[in-house]
């Protein structure tokens, strides 16, 4: 019989060993998959590593791709930490990209740094507008924010596609040679391209630095500010939050605005560092917003770890895109990416839970099917230290 118990405390050692172990397991599985596909695992690995980490160009590319993932990861983190499931980072990013490219085109001729600041602010505001919709609906009418924010991703996606592919909009390039052959976005002025100062031969994109600053700001916000405490109280119990005099509705809206602004800035970073134009196909292909949710989960919704998770996802995505070739189908790239993610997420589960094997018949196992069996100790006799692990309703029991 296998059963899972929630750990009350997790040692630092486990926090380090489990992710590394998960990656090793992932690469073991990938090796088998690659060998079955008649692809040499070693050459694949070496090209993956060089394409994403060891070569300067590859590392720069990883940073560029990772930036929007980190920012949408922070977007998910801020909301999820309060129990508000904003999965609209994707759509909020599209709106941010649209606003950033629009502002950059409009301000053509201004100094670069002015345009870049304006892009960032405009993108943040656009993200806010897009997240305000599910936020207000949730706060005032208890509408399910998951559905609303998810649906708005499609609305935003179709909207930016319309701007480029189906209309002669301000964003579309109608004059250049390339633009007359195939619909593309108008390039933003060259001085508004986000700089990437070189360290050695590796470019550190401005967006990544901004993401780092916002990561630290998010961590401080959650840990050191009254807003962070309010978020933690509300996440723990909405009733207790109301009892403590918190305005929960207002808090939901504030958190959604912060969340949306982060995703919007991700859109600005994508335009400024990667596409230099509104590029619907490009942004939609990577699905930064959804990757951000994965990064947030990888980082256990802790901003600093989310930053690391975003870098990992950026590396995998960037490595994957360079692998594709005649002997290496796109599907295999996706397979590799998802095996890595699956392993790391499963491993993250082990950080919080431990697996126990026990002979059947030793008792103490609570059967999931038994409503009477949820053995939460009654509060009056619950003594500190008496229960080594909190029994949770998530106890899973499989026949053994």
């Amino acid at each position: 019989m296998i059963r899972l118990e929630r750990r009350l405390t997790t040692s630092l050692w486990l926090r380090l060993v489990i992710p590394i172990g998960s990656l090793l397991v992932a690469f073991l599985i990938i090796t088998i998959v690659l060998m079955l596909s008649h692809v040499s695992p070693w050459s694949t690995y070496s090209s993956m590593v060089s394409a994403s980490i060891t070569s300067a160009a590859g590392l720069s590319e990883t940073f560029v791709i990772a930036t929007p993932i980190i920012l949408t990861g922070l977007c998910a983190t801020m909301a999820f930490r309060m129990g508000i499931y904003n999965i609209g980072g994707e759509g909020q990013l599209y709106m941010g990209a649209m606003a950033a490219s629009g502002v950059a085109l409009e301000l053509k001729g201004s100094p670069g740094f002015v345009i870049i600041i304006a892009m960032t602010v405009a993108a943040a505001l656009a993200g806010c507008v897009w997240s305000l919709i599910p936020g207000v609906l949730r706060a005032l009418f208890s509408t399910n924010e998951i559905l609303v924010s998810l649906m708005l991703n499609y609305v935003a996606g179709y909207f930016i596609s319309y701007l480029i592919f189906d209309s002669r909009s301000y964003w579309r390039d109608l004059t250049s040679a390339a633009g007359q052959i195939y619909p593309i976005g108008k390039a933003i002025p060259a001085n508004s391209w986000w700089p990437a100062p070189q360290i050695g031969n590796t470019g550190i994109p401005l967006g990544l630095m901004l993401a780092l600053v916002l990561t630290i700001a998010s961590a401080i916000l959650l840990r050191r500010t009254t807003l962070g405490l309010k978020i933690r109280i509300t996440a723990g119990s909405v009733t207790a939050a109301r009892y403590a005099g918190l305005k929960v509705r207002r808090l939901i809206i504030v958190v959604m605005l912060i969340s949306g602004a982060l995703a919007g800035i991700a859109g600005a970073a994508q335009v400024g560092s990667a596409s230099h134009a509104l590029d619907p196909a490009g942004v939609e292909q990577v699905q930064y917003g959804y990757a951000g949710i994965v990064a947030a989960a990888l980082g256990a919704f802790d901003p600093v770890l989310v930053f690391a998770g975003g870098l990992l996802l950026g590396a995998i995505t960037s490595a994957g895109s360079t692998l594709v070739g005649p002997s290496f189908p796109v599907g295999l790239v996706g397979t590799i990416e998802w095996i890595v993610l699956f392993s790391v997420i499963s491993g993250a589960f082990l950080v919080n839970y431990r697996v126990r094997w026990r002979r059947r018949g030793r008792g103490e196992e609570a059967l999931l099917a038994d409503p009477d069996a949820t053995s939460v100790p009654p509060e009056s006799e619950q003594v500190l230290g008496e229960q080594p692990y909190l029994s949770t309703s998530a106890q899973v029991t499989r026949g053994g």
Binding site: R224, T225, T226, L227, G228, L229, K230, R232, I233, A235, G236, S237, T239, A240, R242, Y243, A244, G245, L246, K247, R360, G361, R362, G363, E364, E365, A366, L367, A369, D370, P371, D372, A373, T374, S375, V376, P377, P378, E379, S380, E381, Q382, V383, L384, G385, E386, Q387, P388, L390
Partner: protein, 501 residues
Amino acid sequence: MLRAVGITKSFPGVLANDRVDFELRRGEVHALLGENGSGKTTFSKTLAGLYAPDAGTIYIDGLATTLPSPRHAYAAGIFLIQQNFSLVERLTVVENIILGLKEASLSRRKHNALVARIEEESHRYGLEVDPDAYIWQLSMGERQRVEIIKALYRSARILILDEPTTVLTPQECEQLFAGLKRLASEGTSIIFISHKLPEIFAVCDRVTILRAGRSVATADTNEAGMNPHHLAEMMIGRELALSTREAARAGGGQEALSLENVTCQNEFGRTVVEDVTFSVRKGEIFGLTGVSGNGQRELAEAIAGLRRRSTGTVSVDGRRLVSGDPEDAIRAGLAYVPEDRLGTGLVPELSITDNLVLKTAWNRPYSRFGFIDRKAIKELAAKLISDFGVVGQPQTPVGQLSGGNAQKVLLARELTSHPKVLMAGTPTRGLDVAATEGVRRLLIAATESDIGVLLISEDLDEVLELCDRIGVMYKGRVVGVVERDRATANSLGLMMTGMSA
């Protein structure tokens, strides 16, 4: 019928049961008496198959039996009714009773037959309950009845009730006791876990006393020389009397809290509090009692701003409170110890420290410009933890504390907010003698600093020992307010059932 010999169970760091011997006869009500932490619950869970003992044997009908899971215990006819009921709130009584059984899906005809049977059984044992009601609609007392009927429906031979009276009114207790006696006379054996002595004499035939995990003695309650005093000594090894308080002379004192014509509805639009008017003076303890589910909880929420009032006014120290605004109530000086300690009054996942500043973290000196001053909060936490004798580290999540300790955290926070009014909902429910005493002393101390205390309690002894005036709620109305000197448990009990005293 059931015999347990040398049951030993340890958890890391705690020896919860140490060679406990216990014997249960057919058709008896057998009390398991002991202070909190004496191992009563652990022992009952062992009997119910929830824990496997480290050593010892359980004999059922003379046969050595192992109970590796609750299923095995059910098969042996043993049912444990825990303090936290295991009912599904969104299902009806009938659905809960058949949950997990083969007849889980019902035709109309079978349903009616089942309803009839439940009504008959519940009537027979005086445990009346509406079979088609949803669990969330029921009071705690009614939920307990559902648990008992559920066990009976599964042909229970041995019922284990873990502190069953903590959620009941005196009348409900009487009904429960009558039902239990009836059950016992028909051959069901009952293990009655309690730390309240009068109950044990009221309903039990024999009593086994647990102290610090050991079975100290088993005695016949009818034996000569048995009295509560003697049992108490055996239970705690020494004697501990609860604080009581002389009633203050009526009249004096300004109004700390006053309610005028307060009416409010529950979530489904039904009027549950109707036209309530009374006031609490500074330095007095006003008791509000009644059978649970007669609007006390909703009234408390209406006062605290957690529930909107449809009409009426609530004033704290002469200042009218905005309806449905908890923040306004807090600012006006209302401290509130809610009935639901964990989940409303405290956030279980957060640390003792964070919970201590749940209402004040955004004020100076605990934060500046939105940033928390961790040093100030740590100092406050250290001070309150030692002043109020909380057992726990500042970083311990309150969800891991015992009920008494959690209540100390809650009271510490509320009393240090310099309130004008302290409203407490069943503040001693589920606490052991020592913790109850601690809470009572804090309530009494509050009156000495001129705070008006509104004590909402179903425990008549408590109300009669602490309060100056007592109001009784029945069907959402306050049907009477009496001076304590003129009140008796009997007269209050009658008012609680709607008959005027």
